[in-house]
């Protein structure tokens, strides 16, 4: 019950000298590191400027206005267009193969990942063999195999092309039917509208099911609505579909899938799918076992257990490593440069070989790749934030 002693005497401030003061030292260290790094970068920069000045190599971006002096097949690009436009086409091609590659690799990878956990022995073994074989093979080797082996050797020459009616396969391209004389955007909009219709019908049917207790049958109603909107929409727009044909040595009509694009895409999908399969398998196994057991206790079928309970929780876990694989795919697409696919790295190499200064040209390519990676990881982070477990 005694109050603690108080005193009115002044307490001297404890002052550690600056060379022992932790706060000062921390700051001093950071400032030193910053300036050391800055000095190093400035030294590299001055090095580069001196050497290029001595040999007369320009260090600016004026080369972008020069004529490209090479043509890009498949794009409306002849040799008089500017280097800038070549870069744009290269970037578009990189984006194109990345998006398609990501979608296909995710689908294939998820299926194989689930396959590795299957109760069916042969499915399990095949999936394991696939993953172990492909995962341990360098991507360049896979791509060389798809290009030299699959495209050049297996696919026939144009004279002996496999004509499957609406698809023609040859080693200089795969012809598929395509629309013409209509805007692709309109056709795409109809398909998007069909998806919206499916979603709207799904909501309606869920509401009906809640109120009346009858089966929602979303698949039936939604599927029918989807098909209805798609068919009617496209019939109204009236696109003409042209089938591919062989005309001399070329594939006329329809659209031609470039053999380099095909081989690079297949290689990217195969390789990335093997990585994604492992990620998906790991995340499925990370979902608590009790979830699966509870699903069985509720008399859900195996398919329902996987698709309604386990997989949604697994994908939440899988999102960050999946994002990593997507970034890898985007950067791995640069290997297409060795196989005549006109993506960004290839275009950069060609313009440098034709006289553009190397450092600014590759710096520009670097900036584009970094931008693509940032955008992709922004989307992945968005998905992650949206789906992650909210913890206290």
């Amino acid at each position: 019950m005694t109050a603690p002693p108080t005193t009115k005497a002044p307490v001297p401030e404890a002052r550690t000298p600056f060379y022992r003061n932790v706060k000062v030292l921390a700051w001093a260290f950071q400032v030193t590191v910053f300036f050391v790094v800055l000095a190093f970068l400035l030294w590299l920069w001055s090095n580069y400027l001196t050497n290029t000045a001595n040999s007369g190599i320009p260090t600016n971006f004026d080369f972008l206005s020069n004529p490209a002096s090479f043509a890009i097949p498949g794009a409306e690009f002849d040799s008089n267009e500017s280097v800038r436009n070549a870069y744009v086409i290269g970037l578009m091609n990189t984006i194109r193969i990345s998006i398609v590659g990501i979608i296909l690799a995710t689908i294939l990878g998820t299926l194989i990942g689930i396959g590795r956990l299957s109760k069916n022995w042969i499915v399990r073994k095949l999936s394991t063999v696939y993953v172990e074989a492909i995962r341990n093979t360098p991507l360049l080797v896979i791509m060389t195999f798809t290009f030299l082996g699959v495209v050049l050797q297996v696919m026939p020459t144009i004279e002996e092309a496999w004509n499957l009616g609406f698809i023609i396969v040859s080693n200089r391209g795969i012809g598929v039917p395509w629309y013409s004389e209509v805007s692709g955007a309109a056709l795409f909009a109809v398909v998007a509208l069909a998806f919206v219709g499916w979603w709207a019908v799904a909501k309606w049917r869920h509401g009906v099911s809640e109120r009346t207790g009858e089966l929602a049958r979303v698949g039936l109603y939604g599927g029918l609505t989807f098909l209805l909107i798609w068919i009617v929409g496209w019939w109204l727009i009236g696109p003409t579909f042209t089938l591919p044909m062989i005309d001399g040595r070329q594939l006329e009509g329809g659209i031609r899938i470039d053999p380099s694009y095909f081989s690079v895409l297949i290689a990217l999908v195969i390789y990335t799918a093997s990585q994604i399969a492992e990620i998906v398998r790991g995340s499925i196994q990370a979902v608590p076992v009790g979830q699966g057991e509870a699903a069985s206790a509720l008399a859900l079928s195996g398919f329902q257990r996987m698709s309604l309970i386990v997989l949604p929780q697994a994908m939440r876990i899988a999102i960050p490593p999946l994002g990593n694989q997507y970034l890898n795919l985007i950067k791995n697409s640069s290997l297409g440069a060795a196989f005549a696919y006109f993506e960004l790295t290839n275009v950069t190499q060609i313009t440098v070989g034709n006289g553009s200064p190397a450092v600014p040209a590759f710096f520009l390519a670097l900036v584009f790749y970094v931008a693509l990676s940032f955008i992709t990881s922004a989307f992945v982070n968005l998905a992650n934030r949206r789906f992650k477990l909210v913890e206290r």
Binding site: K23, V24, G56, I57, L152, T157, R172, V352, P357
Partner: protein, 367 residues
């Protein structure tokens, strides 16, 4: 308090230090061989030539698989027309034709290798163009081989000339004048060509052999060598008669290395001049005491000058006086080099003959 004051003082000190280092950094316009430890590209004329001579080895940029021009054999030797010119330059600068480091380069990074100093001289069947002189920072030297672009097709393709090739796929090497010329030629003739570029001749061979490419376009000299290497034999392909561009092939050094540039120039001229006089590896020793004092000056032998003194000619190129003798003795004259590598492929001298035989090879006088 005191901590904050100390932090301010520290930051001020750091800023002063950074300002000092920035001064060194912005010193870009002077010769600057101290501030920059760049491998070469010295900037002041003679330093690369002197550096090569000090080093005792010439770094020559070349390739490993172009029949006739540069092939890496199983013994690890580079054999070919361009390889012999690398040896000639080494024989002149260093007195030893084998003191060469043949650096194999891909087509797409031959110029960056030159710019970065990885190689001293590029002797890799490279075409002399204005933009390479300019923005690639290369200095091209005397042309060793006047070539043109040709087209190779399969013998059973039915093409008799370039004009027949409409709606075809043409495969070329990436980042070469071939690529640009193919596109320009197609535009000019109103033909539709899809030009597919590959980094490596091996890939083009695969694509051509599998029927993906209707035509393989490259320099005519290179195509002659490639024809000889075809897996189904030279009769399975056809070289179309049209030659549709000018491709003067010669060595190149980096801009700013004037003395090395001149030295390489005069090595090439020496091989041409020797052929003009009929000097070969076999008989060069006999020419050392020739009656013609021009020949003796050329070979670095002694001659009697105007005052009656015995002297040798030093043209001030920075080369040893007997450089031409070493080149001829160790490698040979132009005709010998050509006959050794290109004549067996079936290439005629054509425009690569001496000027008095109707060709373009003309050496300025050595005096």
């Amino acid at each position: 308090m005191k901590t904050k004051k100390l932090l301010v003082v520290l930051t001020a000190l750091m800023l002063v230090l950074a300002a000092c280092s920035s001064d060194d950094g912005s010193d870009t316009t002077e010769g600057g061989t101290d501030a920059t430890e760049a491998p070469s590209g010295g900037g002041d004329g003679g330093s690369l030539l002197a550096e090569v001579m000090d080093r005792g080895e010439l770094k020559c940029g070349t390739r490993d698989a172009l029949t006739g021009f540069a092939v890496l054999t199983a013994d690890g030797d580079h054999v070919g027309f361009d390889s012999d010119f690398c040896r000639a330059i080494a024989a002149a600068l260093l007195g030893d034709a084998e003191a060469v480091d043949h650096v194999d380069l891909e087509t797409s990074d031959r110029f960056t290798a030159l710019q970065s100093g990885q190689i001293d001289v590029l002797v890799r069947n490279t075409t002399w163009t204005a933009s390479r002189d300019g923005s690639e920072g290369a200095t091209f030297l005397a042309t060793t081989f006047y070539d043109g672009q040709g087209m190779m097709v399969s013998a059973d393709s039915g093409f008799a000339g370039i004009e027949d090739m409409d709606g075809v796929i043409v495969c070329v090497a990436k980042g070469t004048t071939t690529e640009g010329n193919a596109a320009a030629t197609a535009d000019r003739l109103g033909l539709e060509w899809e030009v597919r570029p590959f980094d490596d001749n091996d890939l083009i061979q695969e694509a051509f052999g599998a029927g993906q490419c209707d035509g393989w376009s490259a320099d005519f000299g290179a195509l002659v060598g490639i024809r000889g290497d075809q897996p189904d034999g030279p009769e399975s392909v056809l070289l179309l008669p049209e030659v549709f561009s000018k491709e003067p092939l010669g060595p190149a050094v980096l801009d700013g290395n004037d003395e090395l540039a001149q030295a390489v120039n005069w090595v090439v001229f020496a091989t041409i001049q020797a052929e003009e006089w009929g000097i070969t590896t076999a008989n060069v020793d006999d020419f050392l005491d020739s009656e013609d004092s021009n020949i003796r000056k050329f070979l670095g032998a002694t001659f009697t000058d105007g005052d009656g003194n015995e002297t040798t000619l030093d043209a001030g190129l920075g080369l040893p006086a007997d450089f031409a003798y070493q080149v001829i003795k160790q490698v040979g004259n132009y005709g010998e080099i050509f006959d050794r590598h290109l004549t067996p492929l079936g290439l005629e001298r054509g425009v690569n003959a001496l000027w008095f035989d109707g060709g373009l090879l003309y050496a300025p006088p050595y005096r």
